[in-house]
C-alpha cells in the first residue's frame, strides 16, 4: 500500500493557472474524491500526477518524488476520462498493455506479464472478452477492460478521471463497486475525479472540492457536501439528505419548487 501526496502543486497552461498551490495527502489504502465544477482543475491534477502536464510543487509517492518515467508508470495506474479503444484490438492485448511499464525497451512481454494479464481478466470476470475485438463490446464492458488494464500494472495507486461519466446508472454502480472491492482486497490507494456528488461521497472516504484550481473545501462527504458550499461553488440549489447509514444524498432542486 502506498500513500500519495500533493505538496503545493501548481499547473499553468500558458498564462492561465489551472491548479493553484494544491496540497492533499491520501493515506495508504485511502480513496480521495476530487469534485468541483467543469474546468476546476480535477483532470489537470490527475494529468500532472501521471506526467502528462508539467507542474510546480511536488507529487510524492510514499514520500519520494516521481522522477523516472518508468517508476511513475509502475506506481500510478491511470484511467483517462475517454480512453482510446482501438476497435480491432482484442481484450487480452488491451489488458496486456498494462504490463508495459515492466517490459524492457526492446523486450516483449514475459510469460509472467501474460499470466498477470490473464489472471486480471479472470478475476474481473472478463475472460470471455479476451479474444473479442474491443469494437464489439458495450460501453460498460469496455470500461471494465480499462480498469482491468490499470490493474494489470499492479500499481499501488489508481487514478480515475471521470470513470463513470459515460455509463448508465447500473454500470456506474458496477464499475465503482469493482474499484471499491479491489481497493479493499488489494489495498489500492484511489483518487477519482467525479461529477456525481452523491456517488463521490458514497465511495470516497475524503472529498476535495476544487474551484478555479484551488482546494476550497475538504473533508468527509458530510463536511464538504453542504447546500451552502455547493451553492457557492457550483451555483446550484440543492437539498442534502443525510441517511441513517451515513450516506449523503445530494438532490438538485427546481427553482419553482424551492421558492
Amino acid at each position: 500500500m502506498s500513500s500519495i501526496e500533493f505538496a503545493s502543486v501548481t499547473v499553468r497552461y500558458g498564462r492561465r493557472t489551472v491548479v493553484r498551490e494544491l496540497s492533499a495527502l491520501v493515506e495508504p489504502g485511502g480513496w480521495l474524491g476530487l469534485i468541483g465544477p467543469n474546468g476546476a482543475g480535477k483532470s489537470t491534477l490527475l494529468r500532472a500526477a501521471v506526467g502528462l502536464v508539467d507542474h510546480d510543487g511536488e507529487i510524492l509517492v510514499d514520500g519520494a518524488p516521481l522522477d523516472k518515467r518508468s517508476r511513475r508508470a509502475a506506481l500510478l495506474a491511470y484511467v483517462p476520462q475517454s480512453p482510446v479503444m482501438p476497435h480491432d484490438m482484442t481484450g487480452y492485448d488491451y489488458v496486456l498493455l498494462g504490463r508495459s511499464p515492466f517490459v524492457r525497451y526492446f523486450a516483449t512481454e514475459s510469460r509472467h506479464d501474460r499470466s498477470v494479464a490473464m489472471s486480471v481478466l479472470d478475476r474481473l470476470d472478463l475472460a470471455e472478452f479476451a479474444e473479442r475485438p474491443l469494437g464489439t463490446l458495450s460501453g460498460g464492458e469496455q470500461q471494465r477492460l480499462v480498469i482491468a488494464r490499470a490493474l494489470a500494472t499492479e500499481a499501488p495507486i489508481l487514478l480515475l478521471d471521470e470513470p463513470t461519466s459515460a455509463l448508465d446508472i447500473g454500470h456506474q454502480q458496477q464499475a465503482l463497486e469493482l474499484v471499491a472491492r479491489l481497493r479493499r482486497d488489494e489495498g489500492l490507494t484511489v483518487i477519482s475525479a467525479m461529477h456525481d456528488l452523491t456517488l463521490a461521497g458514497m465511495y470516497a472516504d475524503n472529498l476535495v472540492l476544487l474551484h478555479e484550481g484551488s482546494a476550497v473545501a475538504s473533508g468527509t462527504a458530510a463536511q464538504v457536501l453542504s447546500p451552502e458550499t455547493l451553492a457557492e461553488f457550483y451555483g446550484v440549489r440543492v437539498t442534502v439528505h443525510h441517511e441513517a447509514d451515513g450516506t449523503v444524498v445530494v438532490i438538485p432542486r427546481r427553482e419553482s419548487l424551492t421558492g
Binding site: L52, P80, P83, D88
Partner: protein, 353 residues
C-alpha cells in the same frame, strides 16, 4: 479458462498460417517474376534451372547459359529490387501510420518523396556535369540526401513549434515543406524544360534498369531500417491507444516517434533514390494487410513487408510484358492494378461485417 486457452491456441495457429501464406506468396512472386518476360526460355523451364543450380542437384533444364545469364543478371536483380522497394515502402507506410495514428498517411508524408524529387531534378537539370566523375551514380545519391534533408527540416520546423508533443504540428510542417520543395522543383524544371521528360521518367518510378549493384546499394539501408522498425513493433502497438495513454504506460512517445520516423525515412529515401517515386504501395499494402489480418503491429509489420514485396514484384510483371519491348512505369501499374484490388477487398470486408 479452458475456452480462453483454446482461443489463444487458435489465434497462434492462425498466426502461423499467416506466416506460411506470406512466405509462399513471396516465393511464388519471385518465381513468377523470374519465369515471365518478353524474351528468354519457356517459363516452365526456369524453376528447373533454379533447381539445377542447387549444389548436388543435376537437372536437365534445357536452359542455355545465355538464357540463364538473362534470368540471373537481368530478371533477378529487377525482381529482387522490386521486392525490396515494395517491402520497404509498405513497412515504412505501416510505421508512419502507426506513429501518426492515421491510416491515410504514407512514407512520403514528411517530405521524403518531394525532397528526393527536388534532388533528382537539381542533379539532372542543373548539376548534371558535376556528377559525371563521381564513383557512384549521382542522381540516386543526391535524391537520397535531399530526401533525408527535407524530412530533417520538417522535423526541426515541427519541433520548434512544439511538434514533438502532438503529431498535428509535425504533419502541418510536412505539408509546408512538401509545398516548398515542390515549388522549388517546379521552378527549376520550368527554367530547364529540356530535361522535363527525363525528370518525369524518374518521378514515375522504375525498376527497369535494375542491376545487382542497385540491389547491393539499397539492401544495407533497408535492412537497418526494417530491423529498427521491427524492434519497435510493441511500441507501435502501445501508440494505438494514443500518445497520452502510451505515455502513462511509460512510453517515451516523442523519442519513439523520432526513431521510427528516422528509420522509416532512411529506408524510404534509399529505395526512392534507386526506384523513383512509386506511390500507392505504402498506403494500400499496410491497409490491405490490416483488413485481412488485423491491426496489431507485431503481425502487421512482418506481413506488410512480405506482401509489399510480393505486390511490387507481381505488378512489375505486366509492367514489362504488356507493352514489350516498351515499359510501363511501375508507379502507374501499381495504382492501375492495386486500386481495383483494394476496392474489392474493402467491399468484401464491408459485406462480411
Amino acid at each position: 479458462m479452458g475456452a480462453e486457452q483454446h482461443d489463444v491456441a487458435r489465434s497462434r495457429v492462425r498466426a502461423v498460417g499467416w506466416w506460411l501464406a506470406a512466405l509462399a506468396v513471396v516465393v511464388l512472386a519471385v518465381l513468377l517474376g523470374a519465369m515471365i518476360g518478353p524474351a528468354g526460355p519457356s517459363a516452365w523451364r526456369v524453376p528447373l534451372a533454379f533447381l539445377d543450380r542447387i549444389p548436388g542437384l543435376d537437372i536437365d533444364s534445357g536452359v542455355s547459359d545465355a538464357e540463364w545469364s538473362l534470368i540471373w543478371n537481368i530478371r533477378m536483380p529487377r525482381v529482387l529490387l522490386a521486392g525490396i522497394v515494395g517491402a520497404m515502402l509498405s513497412v515504412g507506410g505501416a510505421a508512419y501510420q502507426g506513429v501518426f495514428r492515421n491510416p491515410l498517411v504514407d512514407p512520403y508524408l514528411l517530405g521524403a518523396a518531394a525532397g528526393a524529387g527536388l534532388g533528382a531534378t537539381l542533379m539532372i537539370a542543373v548539376w548534371g556535369d558535376a556528377g559525371a566523375d563521381w564513383p557512384i551514380a549521382p542522381v540516386p545519391l543526391v535524391s537520397f540526401v535531399f530526401a533525408l534533408l527535407t524530412v530533417a527540416a520538417t522535423y526541426l520546423v515541427g519541433a520548434s513549434f512544439g511538434g514533438l508533443r502532438s503529431t498535428t504540428t509535425l504533419v502541418l510542417a510536412g505539408v509546408a515543406m512538401v509545398s516548398l520543395t515542390t515549388a522549388i522543383q517546379t521552378f527549376v524544371l520550368q527554367r530547364n524544360s529540356e530535361v522535363v521528360r527525363e525528370v518525369y521518367n524518374w518521378i514515375l518510378g522504375r525498376v527497369s534498369t535494375a542491376a545487382w549493384s542497385d540491389v547491393r546499394l539499397v539492401t544495407p539501408y533497408v535492412v537497418v531500417s526494417c530491423a529498427v522498425l521491427f524492434l519497435h513493433r510493441r511500441h507501435l502497438d502501445m501508440l494505438r491507444v494514443g500518445d497520452d495513454e502510451a505515455a502513462t504506460l511509460g512510453l517515451p512517445v516523442a523519442r519513439v516517434r523520432l526513431v521510427v520516423v528516422a528509420a522509416a525515412t532512411l529506408g524510404t529515401a534509399a529505395v526512392v533514390a534507386v526506384s523513383g517515386l512509386i506511390g500507392f504501395v505504402g498506403l494500400i499494402v499496410p491497409h490491405a494487410v490490416r483488413l485481412m489480418a488485423g491491426s496489431g503491429y507485431r503481425r502487421l509489420l512482418p506481413l506488410t513487408t512480405a506482401f509489399g514485396a510480393a505486390f511490387l514484384i507481381l505488378v512489375d510483371i505486366p509492367g514489362r510484358t504488356l507493352t514489350a519491348p516498351a515499359e510501363l512505369p511501375i508507379g502507374v501499374v501499381t495504382a492501375f492494378f492495386g486500386a481495383p484490388f483494394f476496392i474489392i477487398l474493402l467491399r468484401t470486408r464491408e459485406i462480411a461485417r
